[in-house]
Amino acid sequence: MPRRRIYNPVTELLTAALLVVLVLVVNRWEFSLAVLVLGVLPAVLLSGRARRIGLALALVTGPLLISSLLLHGLFFPEGERILLDLGIARVSVEGLVFAAVLGVRTSVFAGVLLTTAMTLDIAELLATMTHRGWNRKLVFVVGSSVGLIPHVALRGQQITRAQQARGLVVGRGPVSRLRGLLAVTTPLVIGLLVDASERNHMLESRGFSAAVARTSYLPDSDTAGQRVFRRLLLLGVGLSCAVWLIVSVPR
C-alpha cells in the first residue's frame, strides 16, 4: 500500500534536497549515520514500497560501497595504523574509517533521493508547480520526462519482441544482452522522435505557447502552512550550514 501523504510533494522534494546539502556540508560520519538511521531508514520502511526501494538502493549503492571499501580500505596512502600488510596493499584503520564515512554518506544520498523519487506524487508535484506559477516549459519538461519513462520501457519491450519474432536470438550472456540492447536503441529513438514531431503540433494546437498563466485541473493541495515551513526550512538549513562552515574551518 502506498503511504498516506502528509506533505505536499514540493515540501518533500525540498526536504530531501536540503538533507543532501546538510550531509554534504556537515562532514561528520556521526551526523551522516544519524540521518541514515533516524531519517532515511524510517522513511524507507514507512514508504509502503520498502522492498522496491531496498532493491534499488542495493543496486545503486552496492557496487559503490564495495569499490570504496576495496580502494580506500586497501590503498589509503595516509594510513598509519596498519592492520594487515599484503605487500602492494595495506589494510589501514584510517582507510577503513574513510571508506565507512564515504559509504554512510553515499547511502544517505542514495536513500534520500531514491525514496523521494520512488514515492513522489508527480501529478501533485506538477499541479503545485503550476499553482505556484512556475515556468510552464519547466513544468512540461519535468512532467513529460517522468511520463515518458513507462512509455519508453513498453516500446523498448515491444521492439525486442518484434525482433525476436523475426529471428533475433538474445542469449543470457552479457555480450548477447548488450547486442540486444543496441538493436533496440535506434528504432526506439526514431519512434520517440516521430511521436515527438506529432506531439509538437499537438502542443501548439492545444495552446501550449499561450502567454497567459497556466492553470491546473488538480486543486491546489499546497497550504500556507507548508509554504511558511518551506521558507523556514530553507532559512534554517542555510543558517546552519553557514554557522557550521564558520565554526568548523580551522583558524
Binding site: 518484434a162 519474432a165 529471428g167 536470438v169 515527438a196 506531439r199 503540433h201 499537438m202 485541473y217
Partner: protein, 495 residues
C-alpha cells in the same frame, strides 16, 4: 461554417497531392473523406485542420474559409500563415497515431482532457466542470481517474476526441480514427461522434473504406489520385461503383476475384504443422493479485494448406493463443508443437525460420532505416548472407506490391503500406506457418484483396496460416475454418 477550395496543393516540389477539390462542412454535418491509400485524404483533412505546411515548402493555390474569415493562398511567400492555437479553438483535429497525441504529462484522463484549457488559463473550477461536461457526453466519466497510457484503443481514441472538443470547436476533424480498432471500439467512437454532431459540431472523418457506423445523412467525398471522384450522400456512395477507385465498404468480402474458394484447396493434407494439447496460460499480475487467465485447456491442430481464423470478442484469448505459436508466450500447462518441434525453453528467435508473426500494432515491428533493410532483417538474422537477404527482401516486397519503396524510411509510408511492409518482412524469412494478428485492420480495399490473395497462395503452396480477426467477411471468404474463443477457451468451430 468551414470551406476549402483547393486548385492545387503540393508538398515541397512534389507532384500535386490534391487537385480541384472543394469541401464545405455545415454545423451538425457528418462528412466522410474516403479514398484508397495515397488518394490525398490525409492531406485534405490536414488542410482543414490548418496544417498547410507552407513553412515546410508546400504550395497551396486556393482558399480556406472559416466562418467569416477567408484566407487566400496563391503560392507566394506572402501567403497567410495559420496560428495553430487560434485555429484549433474552432477546428479541432485528431491525427493518426494516438501516442503522439498524448501530452505525456497527464497522469489521469481528466488532466489529459483539461490540458488545452489549462494552457489557455481557464480557471480551475470552470476547467473541471468543462471536463466533466465533455466526459459525460463522450461516456468518459468512469475513466477520468484512469491513466491515459493504459486505456484500450477505443477508450484512448475517445479521450483524444474529448481533449480536442473540450475547447468547444465548431468542427471536429479526425484522420482515420477507426484505424486498428475492433468492432466494439469502432461503435464506441462512432456513438461519441454522433453525440457531438447532435450538439451541432460539424464532423469530418477520413477513412479508407465507406463506414457502416456513420449516420444515414452522412455525406461522402471520395478521392482518387488527389482528385474528387464522388461527392454526395453515403447511401448513394455505396452504389456509385467506387470499387474501381479502390474504395470498398466495411464488412465487404475482400477482392473476391483474387481468392480461390478455400474448400477446394487441399486442406488436411500431410502431417500436422501446429499442435496444441490442453494448453493453459495465465498472465502474471504485477501486484501479486490473482493471475489473469489467458487460455484454458486449448486443443488445436493445423495442417499444411490450412487457413484457420480465430474469432471472438476482445480479451477472449486470440492474441494470447497466437503468441504461443512462436514462443513469444510459453504455455503454463499442456504442450505446443510446431513443425515437429516441441516449444520448450528455446529462444523465441529460434522459431523465426518456421513461424512468421505479424503483430497487431504495425509500428511496434518496424525498426530499420529503410524498407529494404527492414524486410531483409529476418533473412539476415536467420543466417542468410546480405546479398541473398536483400534478394529475398526485394522478392517479398514485389509480392506485396511495394517494389518501388525499398530505399524509403518505413515511417515515410502511409499506414497501409507500412502494414504491407510488415507482411513482406514476414514473407522474406520464408516461414511455413504465418501467424497474423488482425491482418486487415485499417487496410483499404486493394490491400485487403492483396492480403487475401497472399494468404490463399501461401496455403496452396503448402504453408499454413493462423490469424486472429474481427473482420468476419474476410474470415468467411479466406479461412477454411473459424474457431470462436471466449474467456480463453475454444467454444465453437465452423466456417
Amino acid at each position: 461554417m468551414i470551406s476549402l477550395e483547393v486548385g492545387s496543393f503540393a508538398h515541397d516540389g512534389a507532384a500535386p497531392a490534391l487537385t480541384d477539390v472543394s469541401l464545405s462542412v455545415q454545423p451538425g454535418e457528418h462528412v466522410v473523406v474516403t479514398g484508397a491509400s495515397g488518394s490525398g485524404k490525409t492531406t485534405l483533412v490536414r488542410l482543414l485542420a490548418g496544417l498547410t505546411g507552407l513553412d515546410a515548402g508546400a504550395t497551396l493555390l486556393g482558399s480556406i474559409t472559416l466562418g467569416d474569415q477567408r484566407l487566400r493562398f496563391d503560392g507566394s511567400p506572402q501567403d497567410p500563415r495559420i496560428d495553430a492555437a487560434r485555429w484549433s479553438a474552432q477546428v479541432a483535429y485528431v491525427a493518426q497515431g494516438a501516442w503522439g497525441q498524448l501530452s505525456m504529462m497527464s497522469s489521469t484522463v481528466g488532466e489529459e482532457v483539461a490540458f488545452g484549457l489549462a494552457n489557455r488559463g481557464v480557471p480551475g473550477a470552470q476547467l473541471r466542470s468543462r471536463v466533466e461536461e465533455v466526459a459525460a457526453v463522450l461516456g468518459l466519466t468512469p475513466l477520468l481517474h484512469r491513466d491515459p497510457r493504459r486505456l484500450s484503443g477505443g477508450q484512448l481514441q475517445r479521450t483524444l476526441i474529448a481533449a480536442a472538443v473540450v475547447q468547444r470547436p465548431r468542427v471536429l476533424v479526425l484522420d482515420e480514427p477507426f484505424q486498428g480498432l475492433d468492432d466494439d471500439a469502432v461503435r464506441e467512437v462512432a456513438a461519441a461522434l454522433e453525440v457531438l454532431r447532435g450538439e451541432g459540431t460539424g464532423v469530418v472523418v477520413s477513412a479508407p473504406l465507406l463506414p457502416l457506423d456513420a449516420p444515414r445523412s452522412a455525406r461522402v467525398l471520395a478521392l482518387a489520385g488527389g482528385r474528387p471522384v464522388f461527392d454526395g450522400p453515403l447511401v448513394d456512395a455505396r452504389s456509385a461503383g467506387l470499387g474501381r477507385y479502390g474504395i470498398g465498404t466495411v464488412g465487404e468480402p475482400p477482392g473476391a476475384a483474387a481468392v480461390e474458394d478455400p474448400t477446394s484447396a487441399g486442406t488436411g493434407a500431410g502431417p500436422v504443422l501446429v499442435e496444441l494439447r490442453n494448453v493453459s496460460f495465465s498472465y502474471p499480475d504485477e501486484r501479486g493479485a490473482r493471475p489473469v487467465s489467458g487460455l484454458r485447456g486449448v486443443d488445436l491442430e493445423v495442417r499444411p494448406g490450412e487457413i484457420v481464423a480465430l474469432r471472438g470478442p476482445n480479451g477472449s484469448g486470440k492474441s494470447t493463443l497466437l503468441q504461443h505459436l512462436d514462443g513469444l508466450l510459453r504455455a503454463g500447462g499442456g504442450s505446443v508443437t510446431v513443425d515437429g518441434t516441441l516449444i520448450g525453453r528455446q529462444p523465441t528467435g529460434s522459431f523465426a525460420g518456421t513461424v512468421g508473426y505479424l503483430f497487431q500494432d504495425t509500428d511496434q515491428q518496424l525498426f530499420e532505416r529503410t524498407v529494404l533493410r527492414e524486410v531483409a532483417y529476418g533473412p539476415r538474422v536467420t543466417g542468410a548472407r546480405r546479398a541473398e537477404a536483400e534478394r529475398r527482401a526485394a522478392a517479398a516486397l514485389a509480392e506485396v506490391g511495394l517494389r518501388a519503396v525499398g530505399e524509403v524510411h518505413p515511417y515515410e509510408l502511409g499506414f497501409v503500406q507500412r502494414r504491407l511492409v510488415a507482411l513482406a518482412s514476414l514473407i522474406a524469412t520464408g516461414p511455413r506457418l504465418w501467424v497474423l494478428d488482425e491482418p486487415t485492420a485499417g487496410l483499404d480495399a486493394p490491400a485487403r484483396g492483396t492480403m487475401a490473395a497472399l494468404l490463399a497462395a501461401h496455403a496452396r503452396a503448402g504453408g499454413a496460416v493462423v490469424l486472429a480477426t474481427h473482420d468476419a467477411a474476410f474470415a468467411e471468404v479466406v479461412a477454411h475454418r473459424s474457431l470462436w474463443l471466449d474467456d480463453g477457451r475454444i467454444v465453437r468451430e465452423g466456417r
